[in-house]
Structure formats: structure tokens, C-alpha cells
């Protein structure tokens, strides 16, 4: 049996679960993506406004005791994530510079909506202390009540908003 480019969902999910399990066994913590983004913001902002960033109620902790915000587990996971997705797409012949969108929307509007969605999820991930992977999948496996509420609310929010942006996708 050949899986091809798009694997059936169960084996694909199991492989994601295995990467999460490896992180549990090796590091005693989960995987994630949004934490590295926050650290990237802290690092860029610190190079522009060092004093204000170190005194920031939220970003300041990344610089405690002279620490470097990018010297952290989540950043190394993110580097691996980039490499893994690149290699998988390359081996499948799917490396293409393109804008993905539904048939009824222009590239410009698709990119505007991508920006807007990014801003919203960026804010929301900080509020929820993680994203779909770091909070949802890892917390889901740990049976965390907060993570399961977070997952349910993602789908509730998505379904509520889906009708308003249907032209983008369908």
C-alpha cells in the first residue's frame, strides 16, 4: 500500500502523536509552535527597544538572568518543524511558491484575510497559553480540562464564523 502525498488521517495523526510522545519521553514536556513565535517577537522587540522589553510585564521573563529568548526548547522544535515539512514536500515534488485560496476570491483579498486571521490567532494563542498543538494536542493527551475546553471552543468559534468567510474557501 502506498500512502502517496496525502496520507489517510489516522496514520498521519498517529505520526504526529508519536512526535508528541517522543517529546514527553525525552524532554518531559510537549511540542508546540506558538511559544517560539512569542520568543521571536520578544527577541526582535528587544533588539529595537532593549530596556522597554526587559521591563515588559509579559516579555521581560524571557530576559531574566541574561537569558536569550531564542535559546529554548520550543525554538528547536520549530527549526525541526520547518526542516521536516520542507523535506516531506520536496520528496513529494510539492514545493511550490503559491497562494492557496478558494475559487471565488482574489489573491489580494485572500492575503488580507490571512493577515487578519493571523492577528486574531496570535492574540488568542497567547490568551489561551498555547495553540492547537502546544495547548490542544498536548493538553488533550494529558487529559487537561482547559485543553479540551480550548479545543471545543476552537470548533465552536470556527463554525460560528465559517458562514461569513465562505466565499474565501468554497
Amino acid at each position: 500500500m502506498r500512502f502517496g502525498t496525502r496520507w489517510p488521517p489516522v496514520p498521519a495523526g498517529i505520526l504526529i502523536g508519536i512526535s508528541m510522545l517522543l517529546a514527553f519521553v525525552v524532554a518531559g514536556r510537549g511540542i508546540g509552535a506558538s511559544g517560539a513565535m512569542t520568543r521571536l517577537v520578544a527577541w526582535v522587540q528587544h533588539s529595537l527597544f532593549p530596556v522597554a522589553t526587559e521591563q515588559s510585564a509579559y516579555f521581560g521573563r524571557y530576559f531574566a538572568d541574561g537569558a536569550h529568548p531564542l535559546n529554548d526548547y520550543v525554538v528547536f522544535i520549530l527549526v525541526g518543524l520547518l526542516v521536516g515539512a520542507f523535506v516531506a514536500a520536496w520528496l513529494s515534488g510539492e514545493l511550490r511558491v503559491e497562494v492557496l485560496r478558494g475559487p471565488n476570491i482574489s489573491n489580494r483579498n485572500r492575503l488580507l484575510l490571512a493577515l487578519l486571521g493571523g492577528i486574531l490567532t496570535g492574540f488568542a494563542a497567547r490568551l489561551a497559553r498555547g495553540c492547537t498543538s502546544g495547548q490542544g494536542l498536548v493538553g488533550g493527551a494529558e487529559l487537561s480540562v482547559g485543553a479540551w475546553v480550548f479545543l471545543l471552543c476552537i470548533f465552536a468559534g470556527g463554525w460560528m464564523a465559517a458562514w461569513f468567510v465562505r466565499k474565501q474557501w468554497i
Binding site: P8, I14, I77, F86, V87, G118, T121, L151, A161
Partner: protein, 255 residues
């Protein structure tokens, strides 16, 4: 013999080695995200229209795998669960964050991990999404005093579903396996009903056989869990350390 895992916390490997090992773990994660179809914003967004329910099925499968693995290794005495970082629950902020996150996902078509993977495969909308994501994170951090109190509210500690429902860990694990299966089957039913032949999820025969076998294995493991005495190995008196922005003087315990 002492419990060896998690290796970084029991001193089997150094902190530096642990960081380097994160890269191959991330590579597996990214490789799987691509083959799950998660580098395509349309497939992710279609989940919210039931046009392609692959996304929630992948998520269910990943959670069940991680859950059976984590608690199974703990039962087998191979991992010291008290050394694994447990995510704390801040109920209301997480609920509000989840709703906003879902709205952002259907507008933007990605979540952060999938957008990063999409960037690695050349997707411009992924680059723009991450630009927005960084902006949103920055706004949250720089105006933190505005919503800091809400962010730290409703703290319940590392609060698990089995504690919340007042049943054992084993039955809870089985329940999650069942919810994942029932959820998957009913979502596929809705997808077929609404979209008919226009839906995009492959149901080729060998794929379905393989997935059926994997699901059956998960049920068997879940049933073993449900009848295994699990009370002995979790020490709920140990409080999870804070991870993100502790609030001065607040030391709430799990209810």
C-alpha cells in the same frame, strides 16, 4: 531500577542534548503535518464546512496516540509522570481564547504550526498569516496589563478530566477513545450527507482496512486501561509548577 524517562529530567541526558534532540522530534512533527495535508489552508478551513473532516480526525488520532502512550508508559513504570510538565487550566481565558482562535483559523486558514509548515513548502498565505500571528502576539504582550488579570483568572491547577468527572483515569482514557471514534464516524457521516461525492477525503479500501485495524487496536488498549487499577501511580498532591507568568502570591490548588 529507577524510572529512566523523561530523560532530560532524570539526568539521563544533558539539557544541551535535550535541545538538540528537539530538532529530530520537530522534523517528525513537520513531516507528519505535511502528509496530513495541513500545509494546505483550504483543507484546514474546509473542516469548518464539513467538506473535509481530515483535520479533526488527524487531531483525534494524535491525541489518542499521545494519551495512550503517555499514560501507558506511566502504568508500565517506564516514565515518571510527576516529572512531565502538565498544562495548567485557566478555564475562562482558555474558553475565550479558543473561540477567538477558531474564528481566526477559519478566516486565516491556518494555525501557527501548520502555517510554519506551509511556509517551508512555499505558501505565501502562510507567510502572511505568520506575519499577522507575530503582530497579534506582540499586541498581547505589549498591552499585557490591560488583560493580565483576566489572563491569570479562573486558575484550576493541572486539572484533569478524570478529576473533573470524578471517575478513574482508566475509564476516562477509554471514554476519550470512544469519543474520538464516535466523533470521527459522525463527522464523516455529516460530510457525506452535506457534500456527497464532492467531499475530498479518500476512502480507498486498503486505507479503510488499515485505519480500521488501528482504531481496533486503540479500543483494545483503551479497554485494558479501563480495567487497570490506575489510582496508585498518580500523586495528585504534587502541584504542577507554574509555566507562564505567575501572578504574585497566587497559589491555587486543584479542586
Amino acid at each position: 531500577m529507577d524510572i529512566a524517562a523523561p530523560f532530560a529530567k532524570t539526568g539521563v541526558i544533558s539539557a544541551a542534548t535535550n535541545l538538540w534532540l528537539a530538532i529530530p522530534i520537530g522534523i517528525i512533527f513537520g513531516y507528519a503535518l505535511f502528509h496530513a495535508g495541513f500545509t494546505d489552508s483550504r483543507r484546514i478551513a474546509w473542516a469548518f464546512y464539513f467538506k473535509d473532516v481530515g483535520v479533526p480526525v488527524v487531531m483525534f488520532s494524535a491525541i489518542v496516540t499521545g494519551m495512550l502512550g503517555l499514560w501507558g508508559l506511566s502504568l508500565a513504570g517506564l516514565i515518571d509522570i510527576s516529572l512531565v510538565y502538565m498544562l495548567p487550566t485557566y478555564l475562562l481565558p482558555m474558553a475565550v481564547g479558543g473561540v477567538l482562535f477558531g474564528i481566526g483559523m477559519v478566516i486565516g486558514g491556518y494555525c501557527p504550526g501548520t502555517a510554519i509548515a506551509a511556509i517551508a513548502t512555499g505558501k505565501i498565505d502562510g507567510v502572511v498569516f505568520i506575519g499577522g500571528f507575530l503582530l497579534g502576539s506582540m499586541v498581547f504582550g505589549d498591552f499585557f496589563p490591560v488583560w493580565g488579570d483576566f489572563y491569570n483568572s479562573d486558575y484550576m491547577g493541572a486539572f484533569r478530566l478524570d478529576q473533573w468527572m470524578g471517575i478513574g483515569l482508566g475509564p476516562t482514557v477509554l471514554l476519550i477513545v470512544i469519543i474520538a471514534i464516535v466523533g470521527t464516524v459522525s463527522m464523516i457521516f455529516v460530510q457525506d450527507f452535506v457534500w456527497g461525492a464532492k467531499n475530498t477525503l479518500s476512502k480507498s479500501r486498503p486505507f479503510m482496512k488499515l485505519q480500521g485495524a488501528l482504531v481496533a487496536a486503540a479500543i483494545v488498549i483503551g479497554v485494558v486501561f479501563a480495567f487497570f487499577p490506575t489510582e496508585s501511580f498518580i500523586d495528585d498532591s504534587v502541584e504542577t509548577p507554574y509555566y507562564i507568568v505567575p501572578k504574585a502570591g497566587m497559589r491555587g490548588a486543584a479542586p
